[in-house]
């Protein structure tokens, strides 16, 4: 995502804003979803992230980092605000928002769903940067260079973070299982 696109978006160009939305909404949604574990709430907060982006894009200082880094920061603050406001997590039943596709075998759906739920719980045991490394690298499938750009680190630091994050996640999953 280049600086020109951000500049256009800052001027209120709807095509530029839509392009940023299309590219960044899914990872932002997933970041929030893994924090709040509630589909409607994650959707609501993800939408709010982009409204805040529009409100603040005029003052956004693009220091060469991808806009997703900024959006993650907005999302993180929104989640924290929400949790402070409600003073607790909103827990949803594990299968509440499960959509069954015709090709999915029920047993497979349960297995996958449980894994996502467990992962989401375990991710909350990690530090913010460890959580972002796991999501960006293994859920979003980004390269080390892309992860490094978003986190503002070099690739060596990302490898080290990845090691620590996987170790922490493994310990958290073992505790949960």
């Amino acid at each position: 995502m280049n600086a020109d696109l951000l500049q256009l978006a800052g001027q209120g160009d709807e095509a530029a804003l839509t392009l940023i939305y299309e590219q960044c909404h899914p990872p932002v949604y997933r970041y929030i979803y893994f924090r709040v574990r509630n589909v409607p709430l994650a959707e609501e907060l993800a939408a709010e992230v982009f409204v805040r982006m529009v409100d603040r894009i005029g003052t956004f200082k693009n220091k060469g980092r991808p806009v997703l880094a900024w959006l993650y920061a907005i999302a993180r603050n929104l989640v924290i605000d929400h949790q402070r406001r409600d003073d607790h997590f909103v827990w949803s039943p594990l299968f509440e928002d499960l959509e069954v596709g015709v090709e999915d075998h029920p047993a497979r759906i349960v297995e996958r769903r449980l894994t996502i739920a467990e992962l989401s719980l375990a991710l909350n045991e990690l530090t913010e940067i460890q959580r972002q490394v796991i999501l960006l690298k293994f859920i979003e499938g980004l390269s080390n260079a892309e992860v490094a750009a978003i986190l503002g680190k070099d690739e060596g630091a990302v490898k080290s973070l990845q090691h620590r994050a996987l170790g922490a996640l493994r310990r958290a999953l073992c505790d949960k299982l």
Partner: protein, 215 residues
């Protein structure tokens, strides 16, 4: 050691993604085999997860919400910025909003008015504490006379005159204490006290026409 392991782990992740078997990776790094196996299995299970996706209707609604906010922001930017809206609003509440005046001009006029009023209040307050002989004393008297003229009703005017007479006595008392000189007008009945002494308005002294006297 951690950095080395981090590099080895990353190499193995890349190779596994390229289709190399897990055992082959572990065989190349027997010293790390146990730790590598544990972390690579976590990574594999993460990569095998179906990513949670937002519902299409939520994606559309979120996009519409964002674009609506962008349009509102654009409209807001089209309106000239108010440099000091907080004070401007406050001044409007106090003095009313002059029709057609620009916010900057309104603020400047309001500020000027406040300064003039403030200066006047300070001036009047300063005058109220003056004694005969001070530069602002005539202002104090002029204000008193104006207030007397504006006081409705004979009884209220008499009360005010009594208050002013008490004030004059107080001023004289202060002048004695401060050992100051000044011309003072006292309204009252002149009564003889003997030995050229007279009492007027509760103040005793030698009063000779055309002379300034003390006690």
């Amino acid at each position: 050691v951690a950095a080395d392991f981090g590099t080895v782990l990353d190499e193995c992740l890349v190779r596994l993604e390229a289709g190399v078997e897990l055992d082959a990776c572990l065989a190349e790094h027997p010293e790390y085999a146990a730790d590598l196996s544990a972390l690579l299995s976590v990574a594999a299970s993460l990569q095998s997860l179906a990513r949670p996706e937002p519902r299409p209707e939520a994606v559309s609604a979120g996009r519409a919400q964002m674009l609506s906010a962008a349009r509102a922001r654009k409209q807001a930017q089209a309106v000239p910025a108010q440099p000091v809206p907080r004070y401007s609003r406050w001044l409007d509440a106090v003095f009313g909003k002059p029709a057609g005046a620009r916010p900057t001009l309104r603020f400047a006029l309001g500020l000027l008015l406040m300064l003039v009023l403030g200066a006047n209040l300070v001036w009047v307050a300063s005058a109220a504490a003056t004694l005969p002989g001070d530069g602002l004393y005539p202002i104090k008297r002029a204000l008193e006379n104006t207030r007397l003229a504006l006081t409705p009703g004979e009884q209220a005017r008499e009360q005010f005159e009594e208050q002013m007479a008490a004030r004059r006595q107080h001023e004289v008392q202060q002048m004695f204490e401060l050992d100051r000189q000044g011309q003072i007008e006292i309204l009252g009945t002149l009564q003889p006290e003997g030995n050229d002494r007279w009492v007027i308005g509760g103040l005793s002294g030698r009063y000779r026409p055309g002379n300034r006297n003390r006690r």
